[in-house]
Symmetry: C2
Subunit: 185 residues, 2 copies
């Protein structure tokens, strides 16, 4: 059911994300959808939280299985880019929610909460990889990294041919090396 919202948002875009389209994607009618959720806002909010939970689980798995903080940092930043079809669709859905949050107070609060948690996670990893840095330097480098991966995901989602996966990874490695966060262990 929640996956139905996700598929509609990825394939049909934000404007086509209607209750009937979700019901059609889930193989049921609008009655079931409106029975599970009080209104469309709640449906959107649930799908948004589902997206966050999916990426969070993947990030935690990557971080726990990494050898050192530098490798963990690279791994979790890598999954935020649009490297394959799945992550590209996630980027499209992410942008759709972001555009929808402009007029939806609940969605934008959820968005800010998730973004601040994501930023804090990257700051924690940067600080672990470079313990001697000041908090300001950690924050600045972390912001540069999360903004870069976020931006390249948007670029690649809209134009995959112009931003292939190899260029995105080369960009990530170059930025990590430039900031002094590559292979410190």
């Amino acid at each position: 059911m929640s996956r139905a919202v996700w598929s509609v948002l990825a394939e049909q875009g934000l404007e086509r994300l209607t209750v009937r389209a979700v019901a059609a994607a889930a193989g049921c009618t609008t009655g079931l959808v409106m029975h599970r959720f009080p209104n469309r806002q709640a449906l959107l909010l649930h799908a948004r939280r589902l997206l966050h939970e999916t990426t969070r689980a993947r990030v935690e798995s990557l971080e726990s299985s990494a050898a050192d903080p530098c490798a963990a940092l690279r791994a979790i930043l890598r999954q935020g880019m649009a490297l394959d079809e799945q992550t590209r669709q996630e980027a499209i859905v992410w942008m759709g929610f972001l555009a929808a949050a402009v007029t939806d107070t609940e969605l934008i609060e959820e968005h800010r909460r998730n973004n601040r948690a994501w930023r804090a996670r990257v700051e924690r990893l940067v600080s672990a990889a470079a313990p001697e840095w000041t908090p300001q330097r950690v924050a600045t480098a972390a912001l540069a990294l999360i903004a870069m991966t976020e931006g390249v995901a948007a670029y690649a989602a809209a134009d995959p041919a112009a931003f292939p996966a190899a260029e995105q990874e080369a960009m990530l490695d170059a930025a990590l090396a430039a900031h002094g966060l590559a292979g410190r262990s």
Copy 2:
């Protein structure tokens, strides 16, 4: 008239961008809007091109009045972030068009054309600032920079309190210095 589309898109978001809302913002009725544009798609496309032209003119002005390629690079990257209310609204509108382009072939072609031109411009400035670099290194650094400014604009547009202008500028300067593109002249 074109400014009416822009103001509606910035204040009401993409979902509320209806023909009637544009007419109300322009102080006329739907008859005038539908007389100027054959349909809503053409209206969106015109607004998209207007946004591009606005930013392009500002970028050219900044680049021509810069002292050296390094200063030009920093100036044009700076204007792509969400530093004040105007650029923040531009970022919101930009994301709205990006989300709308998912199902609109004309919009996505326009988007790709503009993005590739923007990328080529930054690559040209990076190459002028660091003439000894290989084209690959130029392309990688340019991609890192445009992705970073694009991403931080999205972050700051959705959460201005968490991403103040000073932090964005500190991030830009740190990234330029890390990539070796600060004060080379």
